[in-house]
Structures are given as structure tokens and as C-alpha cells.
Amino acid sequence: MLQERTVEIGVGLFVALGLAALFMLAMQVSNLNLTSRDDGYLISARFGNVAGLKARAPVEMAGVRIGRVEQISFDPQSLQARVTMRIEGRYNALPEDSSAAVLTAGLLGEKYIGLEPGGALDPLREGSEIMLTQSSLVLEQLIGQFLFSIGNKGDEGSGSATSGGGL
């Protein structure tokens, strides 16, 4: 039988190693963010089309993540998609008339929400709604419009100027 001390040291080492591995998985691999779980404030926006957007998708302003999509639901009155976003509490001075757009990271990447700052002095608060929105870009509709405008040949250059919403 092994010495009691050796056994205990071995087990201590094993448990420490296991916990260190768990810690590494949580922190280094998945970037667990303990602080910004429930703080911050909720804002909402209505979009004509949010195809491809998922809950927990990033909300970015100027390319920096400032929050996450909390919930996506359907608004039966306006027949639009209502996206609720949680913005981190330290970004509490975003202008009230900022606009939101559903954007794509790269050509085929994940959808995210991009906010463009406006010029108002009043900030967005808990429960505010962003009025100015731009819908998700649906590739099939865009290609359809492009082919259509090529087929027409009449109006040059308007193919790229068609609204991204495909509405």
C-alpha cells in the first residue's frame, strides 16, 4: 500500500488539475463572461425581416460589441419582427435616434445587429424603441432583383440602389 501522504498529494494534484482544466475550458475556450450577465438595459426595435438573426447574436456599434440580442418575437399588430436587445450598462449614452440594421459578418457569416449613432442629446434608456431600422439582407431576393434589373436593361445602375430590405 502506498504512503498516505503520497496518495493525498496525488489526489490533490488530480483535483487541482481537473479544476484548472474546467477553468480553462470556461475562460479560454468559451470566454465565459461572468460580469455582464444580467446588468445593462433592454431596448427594442422592429424590423420588416430578421431572417437568420438568432438570440444571443452580437449588437455592435462602430464594429465593437456593446450588447446581445435577448429575444426575437413577432409583433402581431405591425406584422413585423420585434427584436429585444440587452445593451451593457456602461454604454448608457447612445443617442435616442440611433438607427439599427440587421447586418451579416462577411458574405456568408452570422447575422448581427449594427447600430448607427444619431445626433439626439437624449440617450436610449430601458424600454426605448429604435424607430429607424433596416431589415435583413436576403440574398435570394437581392439576386432576384439583380437578375430582374439585368433583364430590363432599361434603368442602369438602379440594381445596386434597390433597398436592402427587399420589401
Partner: protein, 260 residues
Amino acid sequence: MISESLRQIGATTLTQLARLGRANLLFVQILAGIPALFARFRLVVQQLYAVGVLSLVIIVVSGLFVGMVLGLQGYNTLVDFGAEESLGSVVALTLVRELGPVVTALLFAGRAGSALTAEIGLMKATEQLSGMEMMAVDPIRRILSPRFLAGFLSMPLLAAIFSAVGVLGGWFVGVGLLGVDEGAYWSQMQANVDPQEDILNGIIKSVAFGVVATWIALFEGYDAIPTSEGVSRATTRTVVETSLAVLGLDFMLTALMFGA
């Protein structure tokens, strides 16, 4: 002829049902012995050494090589699509969700489960268990419960070590040898691995495998025919049954966790 084959089917079913019943009874008895262990934790520490510490080498080495192979294969597949930057998330998701818990459980069955079965089977064959009962010591509480708790505690830790070492192995091959961008490896990983969805579910899986693997090993040992041949058969059965149970359970858990 027909009645004979029917009789065989019936006999086999009844034997297996009886085994299942004994296994469940043993499980309840083992669980009942666990609260008393916190007063004598030294028994568990000794088993943690036998089950966990002695399995470390095989877990670390396998984890490293599995991670390295994932890095190599993932790179070769992804580079065709110009997506070798996502190597980090491929390696990490594969390890954390599936390979970490499953391969750890299979190695655990071969390394620790077979040892547990052989140990308890031999205790039974040499009548040490009956001897304990004669001295009014409950062998289930004294022998089986500490081993069960040790297996239950070790498995998630071993699986976490396996995954962490595997991620480092993939990093070594992908970043070190094949020239994937280091920042992309880690940032893609962090962007795509979710702490609850992936890490927590992986841990839940490994806990479930720990319970099943240790339970099967202990039952096979305790239920073994007390001869040399019986113990050797029980050891074989432990490895086979644990592997099948782990793979089957893994499919069900995956369907539950990631299916919908």
C-alpha cells in the same frame, strides 16, 4: 424444437431481467451508503487515487493525440474551403461536446472499470466480502460506495482534462505546425463555444457516463461468479457493457441536448 427455442428465449429474458433488478437494487444500496462517507472521506480519497490519479497518464496522452489528429484532419478539410481560421472552434466543439466525455468514458472503462471489477470479483472469490459481513461490516458501504463516489467525481475532471489537453494539442498542430493564425484559433473558439450550451452539457454528459461506468463495473464485480473464470468473464463484460452503454447513452443525451 420450437418450444425448446422459445424456452431459451424466455430463460435468457428472465436471467437478464433478474440481473437488471439486482443491478438496480445494488445501485440503491450504494447510494444509501454515500452520506456516511463524508465522515470518513479518507476511503474516498484512496479510491480517487486508484480511479482518477492512476488514469491521468492515459487520459492526458490520448487527449493530446486526439486533439492533434483533430487539428490535422480539421485543417486538411477546412483549407479546401479557405476556412482554416475556424479550426479552433471545430477542435473545441468536437472535444467539449462529444469526444471529451465519450473517449474519456471508454478509456475509463478499460483502465479503471476493469480494475474495479477484478478487484471486487477477487474479493468475492477469496471470500473477503463474506468475511466482512461476518464481522458485521457492510461490504457495500465499506467497499462499493467509496469506489462509486470516486468514479462519479473523477469522470468529469478526467473529461475536462482530456478536452483541455486536446485543445492544446489542436493548437500545437494547427498554430505551431500548419500556420493557422494564433489569434483566429482562440477568437473563433471563444466566439463559437457557449459556456452553457457546450461546456455545461459536456460536463453533464461526463457525469452521466461516470455514474453508468462505475455502476456497471461495481455490479459486474459484485455479481461475478466467484471463480477465476467468472472474474475474468465479469471483467470482459464490464468493458463491453460500459462501452455499449456509454455510446448508446451518448446518442440519447446528444439528441436531448442538441437535437431540438
